[in-house]
Structure formats: C-alpha cells, structure tokens
Symmetry: C2
Subunit: 196 residues, 2 copies
DNA sequence: CTTTTTTATTATCTTTTGTTAACGTTTTTG
DNA sequence: CAAAAACGTTAACAAAAGATAATAAAAAAG
C-alpha cells in the first residue's frame, strides 16, 4: 500500500478531525485497494455488506433505478469519499448503485469497521458526527436549490460554483438527471443560453 | 418547568441514545420555555445566537426568502425538534426564518450548550452523530423524491406516507412550496386527481 | 357581527418541459 | 480499422407549469 495514497485519505479525514498516530492506526489495517474498469459497479442495488471508499483516480456516479430507468443523483471525483452512506447507516440493503464512469482506483474499508471505531474512540465518533453534519449540509443546499430555483438557474449555478468539474467531465445526460430534468430539456436550455 | 414537558423532550432524545440521570442533568439547566403567538418568528433570517427547540404545542414552518418571496421548505409539529440546524452547525447567521403557524409553545436550549455537551460527554457526542445522520437521511429521501418524481407523484406520496398531518394542518400554498411548485399548480393537480 | 385578511379555485395566456423519433457525431470496442 | 455503442442536438407535438388576475369562500381580528 503506497504511503501517498494513505496520505490522501488521512488528509481527507483530517479535514474533520486531527488524528494521532495511534488513532490513525486504528483504521489502516482495514484498508484495501479496489480497482474498477470503466462501467464497473462498485456497489450494487440490493447489496448489504458496504464499504466506504476514497476515490484515488477516476470518477463515479451513483444512481437509483426507478421504473427501469437509471436516475443519476450524484458524482464522485478524486480525493472524495464515496459510499452508499445511508444504507451503511441503517444496515439496510443499498437502494443505489455506484458505478465507475472511468477506470478508477479506490482505497476502501468496511463501514462496519468505521462503526466499531465509533465505539472505541471518541475522536472517531466525533469524525462520524462531523461527517454526517457535512453530508447533511450538502443535501440541504441541494434540496433548497431544487425547491427554489428553475432548472435553468440550477444549470447556471453548476457552471459557476465549485462544481465546474461536473460540467467538464461528466456526460450531459447524467448532468440532466442531476438537475432533475431530461437530457433533451438540458440541451434546449443550453441552446437558449447561447452556448453552442 | 413541568415534568411532563421534560419527559417529552427526553423521550425524543432517547430515540437516539439512552441517557443516565447524570447525562440528562447536563442538559436540563439550559432549558427554557418559549411561547409564540400565531405568526410570530422564533428564528429570523440573519440571526446568530441559535437555539434548538422541541415543539410542545402548535406547528411551525421554516422558509427561505428569495427575491422577496418566501419559500417554505419544512414543517414542524408537536414532539419534534426544530432548529436552524445548519446555521447552528456552521456558526453562520441563519439563512432561514422559522415561524409559528399556530400559537405554539417550545422547550428550548442554546445550540452552544449542546455543542459543549459534545465535548464533555461521549454519549452526547453520539447523540449528535445520530441526530445528524437522521437529518441527512431525511434530506436524502426528500432530494431523491424531488429528482425522480413529478410534482403530482410527490403530492400523492404526501397523501399516503407518514406525512398526512401536513395535508390536514398546513395551508395549501405552503404545501405547494414544499413540493416545489406554485399554489396555482397544486390546485390544478388536485382538480386533475378529482379530489374536490 | 362585521370587516379584514388569508386561502383556494378558476380562467387565460405564455413558457417550459416531457415524449418520441430522427439524425449526425464521437467514442469504444472487438 | 470497422462495427457498434454512446452521446448530443433538433423537431414536432402533447402535457404540465409559471404568471397574472379575478372571484369566492373561509378564517381571523376587532
């Protein structure tokens, strides 16, 4: 296991709490690499034994399946944590599938291991709280946007904000899903905005 | 302070963690009642010193203000916790206003006090994690619904699910906001569904 | 009880989105 | 490199939603 990869994960975690060597060592034995080819699934709908991962290379999408249609609702890029978080929390089978959009490499650990750290270490429990709060804030912002802005406004926000990498690197029909509209409609919005 | 009211709050908290007398006593000195007349604001946009509350009687809505328009995105009923949660977490001024829809009575405590409990007690820290996870799951479900369902489907879901009290007790134009549409459009949906 | 205020419906018109299908282009894959 | 798959745009039409205004009913306030 390369120390550079470990550093990336540790840095990501330390955005929430600083870890002593001892605390960090509570996690490392559980780590493992996972390579995925483009199009490969990391987590499948219905799956129960869930992991948390950090994307080292590549990018991924997560989607729900409804009436046979895939609805992409989130993207993951390098240096971000990825997981079917809510299934892991509740212990229920995953309702979503997480797929690699490009060849990807992940550093992963079982969610059950993280949960055991919550019991064994106050610092890790605090990490769990701060992570959940972070996730919740992101969702609140997203939801408020869906309720208060038009699809066109949401697209414009995507063009500006801290989410430009989505525009550059993700196929447009997935972005349409993410915005809550159809690919055809997004194409029309783009035309309307004159960005041929 | 009536012990019945204290029990209600304690029960709500103990849906997440069980508390010893000692742990419970860490919170009680910070509690205070707050009475609100119909139409009164509990938390105002821009406010910084934030509290968490439990609704003892009445119901409330929270809304964002955008282009001079109020956009209601959530409702609170008896026995539920209410707060401008994300402002409390980040320490930033509240972006939303929380208003009493009927005469209401709350049992409240400063968020800063809860935060101090996170430092002083692992049990309270765990409560904080589980609360954040609970909030996040609710938001994920809501967001997925907004992305994957039509307004009509969302309204039908409201009629069935565990959210009927919203239908019965909240004015329709606020519900329209909650669904992400205009009041006029909701009225049309109802007509279409034949429920005059 | 009367007057406001709030709330819900309806109508009209405009704008936007969904649906389906066709087409050309780009990218992948064997 | 050739065939297949994936992707983005456009068109045509139907369905739904937004905006605005008028009206009526219900609820709250004095």
């Amino acid at each position: 296991m390369e120390s550079k990869d470990l550093d990336v994960l540790r840095t990501a975690i330390q955005r929430f709490v600083s870890l002593s060597e001892e605390e960090w060592t509570m996690l490392t034995p559980a780590l493992q690499y996972r390579d995925l080819a483009r199009g490969g699934d990391w987590i499948r709908e219905g799956q129960k034994e869930l992991h948390v991962g950090m994307v080292l290379e590549g990018n991924m999408r997560h989607y729900y399946t409804r009436d046979g249609e895939e609805k992409t609702t989130y993207f993951y890029f390098e240096n971000h944590l990825v997981s079917s978080y809510f299934s892991a929390i509740t212990g229920k089978p995953s309702e979503l599938t997480i797929e690699a959009l490009t060849d990807s490499r992940l550093l992963t650990f079982p969610y059950a291991h993280l949960k055991s750290l919550y019991d064994r270490s106050p610092k890790w429990e605090r990490f769990g709280r701060l992570l959940a709060e972070y996730v919740a804030m992101g969702l609140e912002e997203r939801m408020a946007g869906l309720l208060m802005m038009s699809p066109e406004e949401r697209y414009l926000q995507l063009l500006q904000g801290n989410k430009q990498k989505i525009i550059g690197r993700i196929p447009q029909h997935y972005i349409a899903n993410y915005l809550g509209i159809t690919p055809v409609s997004l194409s029309r919005i783009r035309k309307r905005l004159g960005e041929k």
